[in-house]
């Protein structure tokens, strides 16, 4: 019994040491699969939080440089294709339901056509992911964050994204 427990102890204690000792080529600190899964969940929760008052930002700041490259990628590329596709299908279903509902409920008239409805909210999603990424990168700081924000400043993003990027860079400079 004692032997087994001690073996578990040795293995568990050695995990962080092994992890810290290995760095992948991009300079990102190596995570175990469980840690990477948890980090991905934390990123996803923050990118789509409604009021963002449940510690979503703080969870990512705690992870710090480990998640900075993922957030830089989000700032550059927006939502993942699978996430965007899921939302596109949800929007299509919602729009078609609204049009059915509108037939008997004039107070619920939707002026937009289907294509514009879907595009409006998909664009909002993309902008929101970038705004959230810019915000947390400013809070994390460091070289990866600075480079990502400077590149975003040059990109042709929506005005609200640009405002968030500029605010993030200002914050970064004051750190």
């Amino acid at each position: 019994m004692n032997g087994i427990v001690l073996k578990i102890t040795i293995v568990a204690l050695s995990l962080p040491i092994i992890s810290c000792g290995r760095r992948p080529q991009n300079g990102q600190e190596k995570m175990t699969p469980v840690q990477a899964t948890e980090a991905r969940r934390a990123i996803a929760a923050y990118l789509e939080c409604e009021e963002c008052d449940s510690g979503e930002l703080e969870a990512l700041v705690k992870l710090g440089q480990k998640v900075a490259p993922s957030l830089a990628a989000t700032l550059r590329d927006g939502p993942a294709p699978a996430t965007r596709e899921l939302y596109r299908r949800q929007l299509l279903a919602a729009y078609r339901g609204l049009k059915e509902y509108e037939a008997n409920h004039r107070e619920a008239k939707v002026l937009m056509g289907e294509e514009k409805y879907v595009k409006t909210y998909l664009d909002n999603q993309a902008a929101y992911h970038r705004i959230r990424a810019a915000t947390v990168l400013a809070a994390i700081g460091g070289e990866v964050a600075r480079k990502a924000l400077e590149q975003a400043q040059e990109a042709a993003y929506r005005d609200d994204v640009k405002l968030a990027v500029n605010a993030a860079l200002d914050k970064l400079k004051k750190r």
Binding site: E38, E51, A80, L86, R89, L98, E107, Y128
Partner: protein
Amino acid sequence: MKQQSFAIYLAVIAVVVAGILPLSARPADIINNLCIDELIQSPGVINWIPVGCEVVDCCPGCPGAPIDWRIRVAGDPIESVTLKFEDLPAEMSGKLKLQGNAKWIDGSTLRIGKGEIVLSGFILDPAKAVPVAIPQLNIEKAFADRIKADADQNHPDSSADLGANDSGRVELTVEQVMGQVVVNESKLIYIVSSCSSPALPESDDRISLTGNTSSDNAVIVLDARRAGRCVKDEVQRTTGAVSVGSVLSNSDCNSNAAVFSDDNAMAFFTPVSVWSDPLGDLLTLDLAPMWQVPTTVWVMRGPFADTRDRVLADFARANQLYNKMNCGISFSAPVINDATADSDTPGLLNATCPDANLLWKRIGFTNGRLNIYYLNLSQGRGWWCEDNTILIGSGADNESLTHEFGHAFSLRHSDNIVGIGGNNLMIAGGGGRNYFTIGQCFRCNVEHNSTLNSNAIRTGPKRNCPDVNANPSCPKLAFDVTPR
């Protein structure tokens, strides 16, 4: 012994030390409440599972390997689950490897039996459409027969717990893994119910509805006394009148009736005093038109025409959801003000709740109504600031306004509440939020703190029913009824 205790203590410490990262909760399960007849006759599409990562680089330091699906199917009601893939290239489906109790029906349709299978080798081409799996349940005939028989025998006068045997639960879990990292995950829960009530003689006690605007199959939630017990949250369904067996005089039992119906206000009758011990009592419940919530919108983010169209789309969605979910609340045509050219707007475009005073003074505010400001709001998609004030940001989704209205009607976030799914409208984020529970609709209406009551929009009995309250005079927050 001491040595062993010390070793265990050391092991616990070690595991804690090894856990460098704080654990982040799994995403909430998606809950689908289904009627068995509808499920068999016209299953429809209600969920989608896209192939690919949830975040754009998959995970911090992800290996960039192909994606494998670990699929688990569980639950008595089903024989199997079918996944119909759309936009799955033929050359990819031919290369996918399958392990476990599953079989391709054709190049894009996979039938999976109960248990766990692995479908491995998805390599995505970013230039092509994202493949998406659409699940469909294949119900066991024996379950369908049993559930219908149970419903027919489920007499309300029986001492059996209503609902104990009249539903089944199916779980479909898909974990998408890259190497050993879970890069996307979906857990779909299907609660399958009979949704039909036994036909009882007209000589029984009865409930009759008047004013049922759309003659829909309204939900009646009854607290009353039956033989030897008080019943709480007993569900009856009718478009007009229904026999309810023998309801006895109230004695020490609560006696209420709440009615939830499309195109009508939620009606709450308390106390109900018509019940007597002999059969033949008639409870008549008059339904009124939906409550009309007056709103004023201040459009600060331009161009005005674009934002106005979004405002109307958001309101349409809110109207649809609060009605179809039987909350009985409507948002009459909002007064929409163009504040895009207001000289104070640029300085307040990123206002947050602590700036509400400035918004009221400089942009505008109408007393006694919900005031909604459409602005940039980098701190979230939307906020309920109390004091009849809602902020909607430029990144809001198509259900953010509906969610914030929920806060205005006293609801809190429903994350981590047993029995409430990740698709509930009061979840604190995500997409595809599409339902309120009956327990939530009850609170929107009767809770003292709901603006329906504080703005004197609604008349009728009120209750102290915060979300977490176990008050016996309120249904549980997760209490729900299918279909609506």
